[in-house]
């Protein structure tokens, strides 16, 4: 499987590939740059945080979101690649959901952006399935034994996002202030949302 090209510096191989593809009119530089900038700057966990805050403050929205993630998320303007079939999983005092892609790195880009490196790491991908309670403990999340942990493995179609529990003492916060509390890790299920 290994070709001589693979022994070359990956930066050179990428540039060789990009220059040949653009010369042949198959892609253009502007499109490449737009995708890079979009996922470096515009699409990230702040999108998912707005979805979570809306679900916490609007009961009707929460029902729509849990019933069918993608259209409810699109109501807030978030759509795009890897978001065609988003399923939202609700955490409760007795059920804790955590998300993984055991085979590669499937992740709901429109709401969370690109995955962090630990999500793509072979150790997380294999261990969270085998020993989720221990892995969550290493993330700093020590769940009571009575809490059921459900590990969700992304398939070719479905991308999962966790709807974390709303922390106590936030009854008077605005939707915007609530969104500011929500972290990426809470929406993957390796953390809880902390009260302010």
């Amino acid at each position: 499987m290994t070709s001589a090209a693979e022994l070359l510096d990956p930066a050179l191989r990428v540039e060789a590939l990009a220059s040949l593809l653009t010369e042949r009119g198959l892609i253009d530089e502007t499109t490449i740059d737009t995708f890079i900038k979009t996922y470096e700057q515009s699409v990230g966990p702040m999108n998912g945080a707005k979805v979570v805050a809306r679900a916490w403050t609007d009961a009707e929205y929460r029902i729509r979101l849990l019933a069918e993630g993608t259209p409810a998320i699109a109501e807030l303007g978030f759509k795009g690649p890897q978001g065609e079939h988003i399923v939202v999983l609700e955490n409760t005092p007795t059920v804790h959901n955590v998300v993984v892609c055991t085979l590669c790195s499937c992740y709901p880009w429109p709401v969370l952006g690109l995955p962090p490196s630990w999500y793509k790491d072979p150790a997380y991908r294999s261990r969270v399935v085998r020993e989720p309670r221990q892995v969550l403990r290493e993330f700093g999340l020590d769940l009571d034994d009575h809490v059921e942990i459900r590990v969700h493995d992304s398939s070719s179609e479905v991308r999962y996002m966790v709807l974390p529990e709303r922390p106590a003492g936030t009854e008077n916060l605005s939707e915007e202030d609530l969104a500011a509390l929500v972290t990426r890790d809470a929406m993957v299920g390796v953390a809880k949302v902390a009260a302010p």
């Binding site: 191989r13 690649p81 790491d121 969104a179």
Partner: protein, 126 residues
């Protein structure tokens, strides 16, 4: 595009100040090196223009990651975007868009540029 200095990216900010716990990597950049972002952008552009099917690419990536893991049980030397790039090269070659010999030849030309020439990423300002 929103201004990165002002957009309400609170998720990242909170993460960056959270407790550090392995295997967590707080406050990381989306891409660790410019070539990683280029490999990402090229794949998205090829899909966007209908030149490759995303599922073909995903299957190639799954196969490559699986092969890497089978041959590197210690996990040492892991690079997600090297798997990504190998998969991209295979799909592009398999679709007959650019052959691996062409990539190799072009990479050799780029490598032979005189020292001081901007390599790759740095040369792509618009």
């Amino acid at each position: 595009m929103s201004d990165p200095g002002t957009h309400p990216d609170r998720g990242y900010l909170l993460d960056a100040s959270g407790p550090a716990a392995p295997p967590r990597d707080n406050g990381e950049l989306v891409f660790a090196a410019p070539w990683e972002s280029r490999a990402f952008g090229v794949a998205l552009a090829l899909h966007d223009s209908g030149r490759i099917e995303w599922e073909d690419f995903r299957q190639a990536l799954i196969a490559d990651i699986g092969e890497w893991e089978a041959t590197h049980p210690s996990g040492e030397g892991w690079s997600y975007y090297e798997c990504w790039l190998r998969s991209l090269e295979r799909v592009v070659s398999g679709q007959g868009l650019v052959g691996s010999d062409d990539v190799r030849a072009r990479a050799a030309v780029l490598a032979a540029r005189p020292a001081g020439h901007d390599h790759g990423e740095a040369g792509h300002h618009h």
